[in-house]
């Protein structure tokens, strides 16, 4: 222990004795660690964002049923294909017990929202959907003020509407109370009963969640009878009550729908699993890519350390000779040089972590939210451990060279 301490002490003395060279070595490790921590930080930030947006689309419990063209061999029945209808939604809710929530949705064709001479334009135009309260749960909407639909609203095909924050912004002045007010939806007055939360997640200056704000909901029954005059659904989404029964729920829903459609497969039942799988595979390839970058930067810093250590040994051949002459064993010399490499790598690692923290803080403050790197503790641990090991490994070869020097040859070295 004492020996080790004195080794580190000697290491410090040596480092101080060669300030420039030590500084260069420390910088090598520092860059390695910093780049590694930053890369991982950016990656983790990116995936955190992606994962959040997957969650915002309903998470992996969500099941999508949608109408699709019939298969080729069923072509003759295409004409009688009903698509998905409200009746299908009712059948599912009666027969598929594993489905926790069932959300029938009808997208209005060419919706127009207006009030007092103002029209809602939005970034991609207005979107008005006929829905049930299930959409709130499946797509994670929350009512900011007001209320959700009541059973009576559904039953009576009431002309009530829940609006997104952007719609409210466009149609109402800032102090104006939207609740209870009427807005025109395709020239029909609808009473506002609720306003959704405002959702924000920025990617640069772009709010990736604006699609949740530029929206309005009316009861699906109202949409079918009074606006679209058809109960064809645009979407029929389900949420498995239990994630571990996802497959069974999908199978049950497929069976019920096939039954409903008398065997005409004009629908498609999907889950978020593929998205999740692509998330996982992208993540894996990023991790590999990031690992490669980190590996290269560590290799570079390792080569830097090794170079500087070799230079240091070259410069200190005489010293090695003297130490050997007064009784240092090859192992003593080896440990001395490894201790120096370790001390330098530790200093470099600490500096690298400090630089990475500072950079991440600065980037977090200057970059638009959504693309900022995360301060991940695992990145620090990994970056630190890797760089220090790179330092030690890079120090071992020069240390062996030093240990092998012949004492008298070393003493004669000029």
């Amino acid at each position: 222990m004492r020996r080790l301490l004195s080794g580190v002490g000697n290491g410090f003395a040596e480092i101080w004795g060669h300030k420039l060279r030590s500084l260069l070595t420390i910088s090598c490790v520092m860059l390695g660690v910093a780049s590694m921590v930053l890369t991982t930080g950016f990656m983790e930030g990116f995936f955190k964002n992606w994962e959040d947006s997957l969650q915002d689309q309903g998470g992996i419990e969500k099941i999508f049923a949608s109408a699709q063209g019939v298969k080729e061999r069923q072509e003759p029945f295409a004409a009688v294909s009903p698509g998905l209808t409200l009746a299908d939604a009712r059948a599912l809710s009666e027969l598929v017990t594993q489905a926790g929530v069932i959300s029938p949705e009808i997208d209005a064709t060419l919706p127009r929202l207006a009030r007092a001479g103002k029209t809602f334009e939005g970034r991609r135009g207005a979107r008005v959907m006929g829905v049930t309260n299930a959409i709130l749960e499946i797509n994670r909407y929350e009512i900011g003020s007001g209320r959700a639909f009541s059973d009576l609203d559904m039953h009576d095909d009431s002309e009530v509407i829940i609006i997104g924050s952007k719609v409210r912004e466009a149609l109402f002045a800032s102090g104006e109370e939207p609740l209870g007010a009427f807005i025109d939806f395709n020239n029909r007055p609808f009473r506002v009963i609720g306003v959704l939360h405002n959702y924000e997640r920025f990617w640069g200056t772009y709010n990736t969640l604006d699609w949740k704000n530029e929206i309005a909901f009316v009861p699906v029954t109202t949409m079918a009878t009074k606006v679209q005059r058809s109960d064809r659904l645009s979407f029929l989404n389900l949420k498995a009550a239990n994630i571990s029964h996802l497959r069974e729920t999908v199978d049950a829903a497929t069976n019920v729908l096939a039954q409903q459609h008398r065997g005409i497969i004009d629908f498609n039942v999907r889950t978020n699993e593929e998205q999740l799988a692509s998330f996982a595979s992208t993540k894996a390839s990023f991790v590999i890519g990031g690992g490669a970058i980190a590996g290269v930067s560590l290799l570079v810093s390792g080569i830097g350390i090794m170079n500087l250590m070799l230079a240091s040994i070259n410069e200190r051949v005489r010293e090695i000779g003297i130490r050997k002459a007064v009784g240092a064993t090859p192992f003593n010399i080896f440990s001395q040089f490894v201790a120096e490499a370790v001390t330098l790598s530790l200093l470099g690692g600490a500096a690298g972590v400090a630089v990475a923290v500072a950079l991440i803080k600065v980037l977090a403050a200057t970059l638009p939210p959504g693309s900022t790197p995360l301060l991940s503790p695992s990145a620090f641990v990994v970056g630190f451990v890797f760089s220090v090991s790179a330092g030690v490994l890079a120090g071992i070869y020069p240390a062996i060279q030093a240990a092998k020097l012949d004492p008298i040859e070393a003493l004669r070295y000029e």
Binding site: A325, V326, G327, A328, P330, F331, P407
Partner: protein, 230 residues
Amino acid sequence: MSLAPEVLRLDRVGKRYPMGDVIVDALVDASFTLREGEAVAILGPSGSGKSTLMHLLGFLDSPSSGEILFEGRPVAVLTESQRARIRAEKIGFVFQAFNLLPRLSVRANVALPLAYHGSPPADAEDRVDRALELVGMSNRAHHKPGELSGGQRQRVAIARALVNEPRILLADEPTGNLDTKTAAAILDLFKELNRLGRTIVIVTHSPEIAGHFRRQLHVRDGLVTEGGVA
């Protein structure tokens, strides 16, 4: 009179330096024995092979031919670590060129051999102080070798060789850079150490200094011969 135990024995030891086409025989068939408690002066002209011989005695170099035995054991069979351990604990070496570490203080230079002891002595600090005091360098303990005169450096080198209280002291011209008074003091120190039982071998050009030693070895063109004061 029974003989004291053998410390070092050389058996037809040769050292040959191949220098391209020319071969330099720095030492030829040297055979002699050093016993415990002996005091030996090695004399000879410049380039005759004295330093070469000293390096072999301190196992800093290996012979090209012949055999060296330390306490009856052939040095050739020892591992480098074993040789290093013996150097650290039993041999003190004063180099002709001092060989101090320029970045370490005088004190740290003197303490160096103790760091390589198998079990560092508990009184390491005291030993360093005593060694510095013996050569009269206590007041310069915190200087760097570069801040010292040649003679002062030589004394530090001697202190370093004494600090591990070696059984055998090998000194290559330890008084070469010293004035007569300091040289005499160092010589007295060596004689005192020898009286206490240490084996001492010094290289010197001075027959007068050699006269203080009971045994003399002459080296000439690599040939070692026993002899009285020349």
